[in-house]
């Protein structure tokens, strides 16, 4: 990257896009744009969760038994793993804003590792559910309560759908982290320019928030009243 000098006779930061007046305006536009995207994500997950709650009120027993199929320990471990990854992500952004290159790199690597740990645990759970016959469709051989078998299958559609969409977001997040890490290692970020790290953080924390709701909805609320 070269520092570009324009007709207006002052030197620009190499990552300042020409449509912005300064890096502050660019930073503000970046975070605002990410929040706009996240608001569509909130409604996207919100729509699926709304359907989940409708069927939950219609088939409370199937939902209770379905959640009881889940291993709360795995879900709990993954919740903690994601919260730790959110902490390291927040510290990566903090280090970026303070211009601590080594700190950014270390925190981004840790965030990636915790993200991959989450996906590995999810993989263990998915494998178990597959063998338990809890994958909807022709593989659905679960039959502990034959009278509500079909309703149970519907619960598992929501389980696989919601956790699958969440896991897809995690995979995309890890991919984006690789890119941000590469840029951090090249020394792109500093106190004047760290919007990509900040925006990466917004996405990562949003995915954490989705899981904060999925954990009780899919794993826990089953023992008692509906």
């Amino acid at each position: 990257m070269t520092v570009a000098a324009h007709d207006d006779d002052h030197v620009h930061h190499p990552f300042l896009q020409h449509q912005f007046e300064d890096l502050g305006q660019q930073h503000e536009a970046s975070t605002l744009g990410m929040w706009m995207f996240l608001s569509t994500e909130i409604l996207f997950f919100g729509g699926v969760l709304c359907a989940y709650w409708i069927y939950r009120t219609i088939y409370p027993e199937a939902w209770a038994i379905g959640a009881a199929q889940q291993k709360a320990l795995w879900g709990g471990i993954n919740t903690i793993v994601l919260i730790v990854s959110s902490l390291t992500m927040a510290l990566a952004v903090r280090n970026a804003s303070l211009g601590r290159k080594r700190g950014i790199v270390i925190m981004l690597i840790l965030t990636m590792l915790f993200g991959l740990t989450f996906l590995a645990v999810k993989g263990i759970e998915y494998t178990a559910h597959w063998h338990e016959g809890l994958f909807p469709g022709s593989h659905f051989t679960w039959n502990e309560h034959p009278d509500i078998r079909d309703k149970e299958q519907l619960f598992m559609v929501f389980y696989w759908g919601l956790t699958g969409l969440h896991a897809l977001h995690m995979v995309i997040g890890v991919g984006l982290l690789v890119w941000i890490l590469w840029r951090a290692m090249r020394g792109h970020f500093g106190p004047e320019y760290y919007a990509p790290v900040e925006v990466m953080g917004l996405y990562w924390h949003f995915v954490d928030i989705v899981w904060i709701f999925l954990f009780p909805f899919l794993y826990l609320i089953h023992h008692h009243g509906h």
Partner: protein, 103 residues
Amino acid sequence: MDTEEHEVPHDVTPVWVYLAVFAVLAAGTIITYLASQVDLGWANTPIALVIATIKAALVILFFMHAIHSSRLTWVVIIASFVWLGVLFVLTFSDYLTRFWAIN
């Protein structure tokens, strides 16, 4: 034209704030699990929902820096949840009342 200088926000949040938020999130997770193991009747679901909402609010305010955000960003954040509320309230005003007995 707007010619004023725009400052890049510098994250001055001390590390202990992040650690404290993390501790509350972890504690919330454990409390959610423990509360689900006790029979509290109808209260189990609202308790899980309230804890999850508090956790989400902490993440948004501190990890996502909403607390330091511009008013315009706040408009987008709040509008998101207003629309989410519309989605839920209007949908449930239909589905939750469909099975009500008609006198």
